[in-house]
Every structure is written in structure tokens, then in C-alpha cells.
Symmetry: C2
Subunit: 442 residues, 2 copies
Amino acid sequence: MSEAHKGPAVRWAEIIAVGSELLVPPRLDTNSLFITDRLNDLGIEIRAKTVVGDRRDDLESTLRAALARTKLVVLCGGLGPTDDDLTRDAVAAVLGRRLHEDADVLRQIRRRFEARGARMPEINRRQALVPDGAEVVANAMGTAPGLWIAHGDCLILLLPGPPSELKPMLELVVADRLGPLAGDARLHRRAVFICGLTESEVDEIASPVYAPWLDDADPIHTTVLTSPGQVELHLSTRDTSAARAADRLAAAVSALTAVFGADVFATDGRSLEETLGGLLRARGWRIGVAESCTGGLLSSRLTDIPGSSDYVVANVVCYSNASKTAWLGVPADLLAAHGAVSEAVALALADGIRARAEAELGIGVTGIAGPSGGSDAKPVGTVAIAATTRTARLARTYRFPFSRVRVKQFAAQMALDLARRVLLEVGAGRAFVVRQAGGGAR
Amino acid sequence: MSEAHKGPAVRWAEIIAVGSELLVPPRLDTNSLFITDRLNDLGIEIRAKTVVGDRRDDLESTLRAALARTKLVVLCGGLGPTDDDLTRDAVAAVLGRRLHEDADVLRQIRRRFEARGARMPEINRRQALVPDGAEVVANAMGTAPGLWIAHGDCLILLLPGPPSELKPMLELVVADRLGPLAGDARLHRRAVFICGLTESEVDEIASPVYAPWLDDADPIHTTVLTSPGQVELHLSTRDTSAARAADRLAAAVSALTAVFGADVFATDGRSLEETLGGLLRARGWRIGVAESCTGGLLSSRLTDIPGSSDYVVANVVCYSNASKTAWLGVPADLLAAHGAVSEAVALALADGIRARAEAELGIGVTGIAGPSGGSDAKPVGTVAIAATTRTARLARTYRFPFSRVRVKQFAAQMALDLARRVLLEVGAGRAFVVRQAGGGAR
């Protein structure tokens, strides 16, 4: 812990990402997500975050504005060896400190080059410049050292921009310096992941549950995040006791699970594909997927999970009608009678892949991803999905009035969810279930 | 064009995104990407962008700092009806203007509710508050109007946070108000997309080409962006003449294409899967994919392209050895002799899917995505990829020392690229090419 810092526990922070390249689309500053996570763990919340280009004046005024608001400012980037790496200079100027060349830092930079059989270019000498009174944070992955500066009751942390360098350095700083300063109240979090309801449906059901939590002496805050076909309720609370926070959050999660029932697929942060994989593994079952409009996305999500080769055997992307018949045994007259995009064909695809991949669970997906191929009866975004086992069958038709890629995302999500629900039915002993019902964009 | 604005052409802008929810991971402000794109089109560049929470003081100090740096500030979010929607109040306070209730705006908000058969909640009255002298920007998609304020030589634009509301409103403002103010010099852009080289290899080859452009009277700036297996050189230049800029950029693109040759896959912004689709379509060919470790990702990328059903027939994800034999005819003794992860098996997979899907081009991918399953001879991240036609064959082995999901991303990218290169060989009349060479992580 720095001797120079005499202030109270750090409660708020700001993040400044430095680099003109971060202002050019499609680039986004993502370091701040990692930094926010780590600081939130310590109970430190973020007041603002800024991306600023490589202009000395802008960098200085940004830092001044941040220091006027918060006692902890984390800057990342602009510590390289070139002329447009200005973070060191700007910070020294704002704090009214001189820069000096640090012999130890210079030696380490030299050594890094020599270890690769190279000589340090003279330009890298800049990276050994350190504001008077700053402490050096070692960088095991690159040449730019981090800097930690206690200035009056303010703390300024400078980290290099590459995530592979920044992340381990921040972990060090969190353990050695920020942890002791952060006070006893930490931020504790849980999340409830839901599939099968829209954001507004979730909020209508959940808000009577979570609204009263805000009036507690130790309030629990709820943030709603969404991705295609998924609504997440993120709960957070400050507490000096990890055990008490865990109990309070567990009670909150239970209250939400009670109102949402089977629409909740995870309360431990697991993705839908990981949840489904866990259910398959628990039964020792294998899965086969026959997908048309999702084009491989459903299979790709299943195989994102380490160890999925234990339950994924073979999946087929059957884009043409002929391949649905030849590869999966969907009768040509079924295709003719119902059309390729129908629950009857989705069920036949699920049964076909289940038989041919020798799997216990089959999924069939068939739809119109667009932008062309729709009709009045079956507009673009119409998707039929089925999941079958030897004893249980579910099929649903959805309308996703979105772009091609989003139709794929929604359909893959709802297919994973339908498979999860079939496994729940089977697990509850509800065999020979046949349910078919239209669904909306959720 | 606003009468009150008397300053010179607008050259710089800042963006402020308002909302505490934007400071909670994994949320990112992505509105700023769209705003940046539109302003860049007008030759207006972004000096800084800030995300600030719903605190009146923070919002005011952020706006003050931005106005000290630039003449145009775009704020998005915080225009809703609730107590924590503070953007209107903060802007009025910083500019020293009073808020008044605008009768027209109030009428429009009421009408929006009535159109849905609802009465306007009293709380929404807040959204009709307008700083004195501000002009209202109509919002066709929601209740929060935008505001345009000319203040001395500064311009402040307030837009609502939801992208579906913000985007059309910004388009209107760009056409009606910002376009005329932006001056004649616009920013013009081109990009060169490369596959098969690392970022540092690209930079080593490209920098002697692009470095001199910076010394031109009208410099062309080059930004390097990367994604798994792809390096993009983004060129931009300011010019008062669109035709002259197009000529200068075309010459720059040609100079880069000349040094990179077939490693360049697009100079028109098209993705690798779209480029490959174009080559297939040009020949009237179809493609089949047999993928193991990429698990469907390769097929999913191919089918992200509208119209891909013209050339995608059927793809197989063959995770198990048994499925490689049963579904694609890979001889069991070939698997035993070379192992599943080998160029011999990748070639057999490509030939197998080509025959069974009745396609002219086949791709086979087999590898170890990890985190387990590696050996000393074939560590995690080893991937063999093959692309074959009736007359041409290419196979390569790669090492991608990354996480499971990144191995999938790199492998899918290199497989698309290998298929592209086979089509180029065929197109150039170089038949019966057999090339096998190890490759690194690129």
C-alpha cells in the first residue's frame, strides 16, 4: 500500500482509454470492461469512461476533468515508444511533476530486447521515462512499464493498451495496491438468465419482485441486459460480508426463479449451450442437429463448449430440399404437402438426424432467413423448430422480423431452448408430450 | 441551416453517451460507432467520446470539458421520462438557458400514446421540456424528441439512446443541418482486406508503401485493424473533390494490391465468405463443407450471405471418427494410419463431401480445438484444412495456440481462404496443383 495515500476508502473511479485508433469504427475500447469488472469486485464503481485521441491538450483536459470528479483514474494506452505516445507526458504535466529516466526500467527494456537477440532501438528509451515520485508496475509481457502515482488524495494508474499486457498488470495492482485501499464493502453479483420471454414481458413480471429491494438498507440493484432470444437480470449489492451478500443474493435469485419457472435456464452465468450440454451429460445422452436456415450456427454454438465432443456426434446443414430427403430421410411427399418450412418437416428432420447420428436427442430447424424467399403465408423470418427424443416431441413456429443474421441468431437460441425444454419434460417423466404452438419474436 | 450559427466549417466533434447502465459490463456504447461513421462521412472527426452515468454534476462537467475542446457535441441518451433522465436539465444548466414546456412536443407525445389507445402518463410531460432557443428534431420511432441547440459558435445535438430512434434522427440532422455546416472537405475511405499474413508481416510490407502518403499535400492516413486471420488496411483522406479522392484512393489501393498479390481478398469491403460466394457464383459452382473442429462455424459463415442457398447444398459437422467414415466415406484405415487430424483426412473429407453433396468444390477441416485432446506431436490448436475440386487440391496444417473459440475462428477463416485460393488456381488454369505446407497462426 502506498504510504503517500491518506484518503478514505476508494469508492469511485474513472477510466481513460488513450489512442486515436480507438476513435475509428469499428474499434471499441474493450479494456474498460475488464477494468470495470475488477474494480467492481472491489466495490469501486465507475463514474465515467472516456476514449481520447493522441492529442496532448485533449488528454490533459480529460485527465483534469476526471480528477475533479474521482479519486482514482485508470489510464490505458499511449505508453509506447513513439511520438504519439503521450500519456506519460500529459500525466506529468497535469500533476506538475518532472519526468526522469529510470535506470532500472531502462535496464529491463534493454534486457527484453537482448533476450530476443536484438538491440534496443534508441526510440524505446522514452518508455523508461517516469514522473517523479511514481512507482513502477512491472510488465512481464511487453516493454511498457505501468505507473502508479499517489498525488495528494488522488491515485492515478497508467497501464499499456494491449490487453495481454494490461490484464496481468491490473491483477497485480488489484491484489497489492487497490485491494487494501478499497474498503470492506465489496460489490457482489448474481445473474438470472431467461429464454422464452421478451424484455418487456420479463420486466413486467420481475419489477414487482425487484423494486422493493431498492428500499432495503442494503439495496440490491437490478440491471436488464438482452441478446437475441435471451434476457438477463443482473443483480448487484454492496456488502462488507461476502457470506451475508451471498445469502441475500441467493434469496433474490430464488424469488426471481419462483416467478419465471422453467423460463430461467441459468443462475450461475452459464450460456444456454452449456446448460443444454450439462443436461445431456447428466443423462449420458448424445445430440444430433439437422439445421437449414441457421446454416451451422446452432451446431457451432453447441461445439463452443469444451468437452462437447462427448455428446455431439454429427450434425447436418441441409440447405437444399434434396439434401433433406437424401441425408435425413425426410419424405419428398411430406416436403410437398407441408412445404420445407413447416413443423412437420422440422419434426422429420429431428427424427432423421436422431436416427442417423444414433443420438438420443434430435433437433430440426427449417425457416426463411431472408432477405428473399418469403411469401404472404410464410414471410421472411418464419422458422419451424422441433426437438424430439424416443418418447417426447416438441415443435414450434416462430416469426423473427429481423435481418438475416439476426434471424439465424434468434432461431439458434430458440432451438437450443426447445431442446432444453424437451430434456426437462423427459426428466420430469412427462413422456409422449406432443405440443405445437405458434410463438413470437422473443 | 441554423441562423444562429456563424462559425467556420465544423471539423471536430465529441460524443457523450449518457446512462449508468452503459457503465456496467458487458454493455458497451455502440451508438458512437454509428455517429462517428456519419460524421466522418462529412469530414468531421471525433476528438473524444465519453460514457457518463446518470449524475447531474458528472454530466455537466463532461459537457463543459467537451465544449472547451470542440464546437460540436452530440449527446445520446438520458431523454426519457424518469427522474434519472437528466440530459435536458444538464445541458440547459451548462448553457445557462431555462427549460420551458413546448406545446407542440407535448401534443405529439400525447398523440403517440393515444394512437396505441393509451393515455399519456403524467411523467412523460418531462419529455416536452425544451431549453429556450432549442430546435426540436422529430422522433418518428419514440416519444423523446431530439434537440438541436446553436449556442454562440457551438452546436449541441441531443438524441435519444435507443438505436432505432437515434439512427433515423441522426440521418435527418446530417442531411438538413450538419451537411451544410460541414464544409466542402469530406473524409473519403477505402480498405484493403488481407488473409494469410500476420499483422506485423502486413505492416512490414505495407509501411514502405503507405508511409510516403503522409507527406503528401493531401495525406492518406492508414489504420490497421485485425480480426482472427484477417488484417485490414483502412485508408482515409480529406478532399473537397469526391472524384479526385476516389482517384487518389484507387491508386493507393492498387499500390497495396501490387505488393500483396493474392493475399488481398477484397478491396470493396466484402467479407471473405462473400468474396468466396462471388467466385462460386461466377463459375456457377456449388460448395460442400465437411468440418470437424470448427463445429459448424465455417458453414454458418458461408450461409450468413444472402443468396448463399444458390451455392450451399449440404454441409456436415463430423465430430466423431465414426461419422467421418459413415457420412463422408473416409476410410477407417486412413484414419488409423494418419490420425483424424491430418492433411490426408482433411483431403478425404473434402473429396467425400464434394461427392456426396454433388458440389464442385469441397472443404475438409479437422483439428484439435482444445482445451483437451492435444499431444506432443499434435498440440491443441493443430488444424488440417483441405480444399479440393475435380482437378485441384490444396491442403495445409496450421497451429493456432489460442482458446477453443479462437481456434474455431482462425480455422474457419483459413478454410474459407484456402477455398478461395483453390478457385483462383482453377480460374488461372493451373489444374492438378498439389501443394502441402505447414502454416503458422496468421
